[in-house]
Symmetry: C2
Subunit: 466 residues, 2 copies
């Protein structure tokens, strides 16, 4: 039997109310996106057209000849009650309302939204939105959204990252930036807007059971049921990372005007997040970077008797890393003498290997490929080493395919590696591409790598005891 | 009369000891770099060659027929004492030792380094380094360094940013990343390595008097004279930003092995930095971003009775920004009613303008160009607004030249603007290029923009009272 939310994610037939032929309009993009990915039957509805993008267009819902389970609503707010009634008659089970003009637009809109929810529930229909961008699915390729860019077709790779975003534009422009910047595999990106009915709790319950979801990142302006959120987080070993905005008084006020959210639900605070094993973040790329790390790193078991080893091209960067690890109270590895001896063989005689491992003199003699793979191998075998940060000077004199070898070591030893590189942009990009294809995520700042180890340690130690 | 350090920065004649024809060797890159930029006479010295890069090569210093004021030393460490003596006889006043093998390599090297300094001082010669990469100058185009990339020729634009870096590789690979990533105008980038003689204090004293230096950023592993540093900082209105590594016990140990630095000079601590008006940072791009902001923003007078206004494409991003401003205790603007009314005219009727200004509905109706310029204009005229953060969705439907108009407003009102954008990379890059050419710096995260306002406020309020 279908789960209620399956009517959104796996519908048998989708109608688009407000589909348009006007290139550049949102009604056009929704239709084009749905047609491009969704494999079921699509029914544009708009009395102005007989055909849109080469498929029949219907004057109203009633004229659709076949079964429809999901309706995407993109006409003015005031028609919603009428449409819910007619949808019920048609057998529609799920409506994604992407239009604005509801609770976020004032009292009248709030009343309309409330009435819509009551009516829908009485008729067995679930509502998604309003004031949202729908969702994208990396596996089914359903893009039930008006995101303008066609880039999702090539840039959205299937994977295990699911995002729940209570902000339309953050799931559009920002998502494009993220997909272009990072190699992140997407399960689902859900924009829930005013979340009048389907909310973050419903989705979290669904996604902790969802086979394609491995890690969940949320941008939330309010939390409808704090207790339930904590219970869900406690019940799952999937990492949950939350950026909860409206933390400040001014932020709360802003959240109220944005998605009519009462951010001031103070029941759920940082302490409760922590207790439930939820990783809390405060900025946007921070959210993405930490979710990305959890997507790459699955079986880490941090051991406070071991520590993080640092392989670097720069003594200075190594010291900065050490300081930052100390700031976060993360143990720093003290490699075994045997490990340092292996590393020493790559060094010129005037320099003795010590941790953090400043490898540049070794690289000058032996090349990046040999040095990074040899040293990574030695550290993987060292039982005092828990995980590794690799800092590279990506030079054109090196062949970035050595990352494949390091990736194999990571798979074998289960010791995670995070990487950071400097150098010419185009070569850094090659390094990043090779490393991420081999399971080693790259990040933009040393501090971010360190912060990620903190988050990983927090999550996996927490989960280790369940 | 020449300042002692002028013999490094404006020498009459430069000799390169250890110049090489072997492409890929550092001795080759030093020679090529010097020849490419320096406008005086260059004398490669190496008994193996009669000619290098088409200019005469000399077997020894004594054979150079003309005046030489600066020598770049790139032969093994053990020859240093002999070379200092012979340099003195030749009238050389400044030696940049780029070779390693001195104090950082153990006791013997430390003794050699100490002896070299004593000898040099007795003969009226200043030593730079050793174990360093020399320096680059954006104005004179002197690149007395073995940085491998030729990219500095096109990417290093003259400007007022001066960096002092106590780490060779950080002034090479990292510098390339920085120059490619940001539109930063460079005065000088100095790699001081073991700083056996010329140190950060000498350079700071020189640069606070240097007409082309407007802001100074330092990566330091030790501080040779804390009191003097504070005195210099207190004496100048030029912003000084310092990343002091070796803050932690483990970091101190690492610093000792890297540049033989005793980072544990605890006399200079965060508190003292603060009192002297020094901005302290802990990460590498953080250093660059804050220095960049100071390079763009010169005449800001933060007023705690006013506040930062937020213009955004996303209500969510606006709330996150508000929270982060609150985290840093930075006043958030409360625009005047008249300002909100001006903005309201761009909005659809269902949405009322409130701060933070979520402009997307206005942009959908009027386009980015009109909305961003109109709203920025209104905020510039609002006496409750001190400065602005602009957050954009960079779309291909907009013409990024509108940044020029906003740049003109900034020049007139002296209210600084920081910007952040999402969207397709290529369009974000265009936005960034146009904005930075118009005097508006872009940054990669909202949190960074907020942190920069903190640093700006700290510096300019401090300085305001001098």
């Amino acid at each position: 039997m279908k789960h209620e939310l399956d009517y959104f994610f796996h519908p048998d037939g989708v109608a688009i109310l407000g589909a348009s032929e006007i290139v550049g309009s949102d009604g056009f993009y929704i239709l084009r996106n749905v047609c491009a990915g969704y494999t079921g039957k699509v029914y544009p509805v708009n009395p102005k057209y007989q055909e849109l993008l080469g498929i029949p267009c219907y004057p109203d819902i009633e004229s659709i000849p076949d079964k429809v389970e999901c309706l995407i609503y993109f006409i003015p707010a005031r028609f919603i009650l009428d449409i819910i009634r007619r949808s019920a008659a048609k057998g529609i089970k799920a409506i994604i309302i992407e239009s604005a003009g509801f609770a976020e637009a004032g009292k009248e809109g709030a009343k309309l939204q409330k009435d819509a929810v009551e009516l829908a529930h009485s008729l067995g229909i679930r509502l998604w939105g309003p004031n949202c961008m729908g969702y994208l699915d990396g596996h089914t390729r359903n893009v039930f959204s008006f995101v303008h860019s066609e880039k999702w077709k090539t840039m959205m790779h299937p994977g295990d990252v699911t995002l729940i975003v209570q902000s339309g534009m953050l799931s559009a422009g920002f998502l494009m930036s993220v997909l272009e910047r990072d190699t992140i595999g997407i399960s689902k990106v859900c924009s829930i807007g005013n979340k009048c009915d389907v909310n973050e709790i419903d989705l979290l319950e669904y996604f902790v059971q969802d086979d394609t979801t491995g890690v969940i990142g949320c941008y939330l302006e309010s939390i409808v049921d704090g207790k339930k959120l904590l219970k869900i987080a406690q019940s799952t070993s999937k990492p949950i990372v939350i950026l909860k905005s409206g933390r400040s008084e001014q932020g709360k006020k802003a959240a109220l005007s944005h998605t009519a959210s009462l951010a001031g639900n103070t029941m759920v605070v940082s302490g409760a997040f922590k207790q439930a094993g939820i990783v809390q973040v405060v900025d946007l790329y921070e959210l993405i970077d930490i979710v990305k790390a959890f997507s790459y790193i699955k079986n880490y078991r941090p051991d406070k008797n071991k520590g993080i080893a640092v392989m670097t091209f720069s003594g200075g960067a190594g010291i900065v890393t050490t300081d930052l690890l100390a700031d976060y109270a993360i143990p720093i590895a003290q490699p075994q003498e045997a490990t340092l001896q292996k590393v020493q063989q790559l060094f010129p005689s005037w320099m003795s290997a010590s941790h953090p491992l400043d490898l540049w003199p070794a690289i000058e003699q032996n090349g990046s490929e040999k040095v990074y793979t040899t040293v990574a191998g030695a550290l993987m075998e060292d039982e005092r080493v828990d995980a590794i940060i690799i800092e590279c000077f990506a030079t054109q004199h090196s062949d970035p395919s050595f990352w494949g070898e390091i990736g194999n070591m990571v798979k074998q030893s289960q010791k995670p590696v995070l990487a950071w590189a400097v150098g010419e942009k185009i070569i850094v990009e090659q390094y990043k591409k090779h490393a991420e294809a081999s399971g080693i995520p790259f990040f933009g700042e040393i501090g971010r790598c360190v912060q990620i180890f903190k988050a990983l340690g927090f999550h996996f130690n927490k989960r280790g005891s369940i």
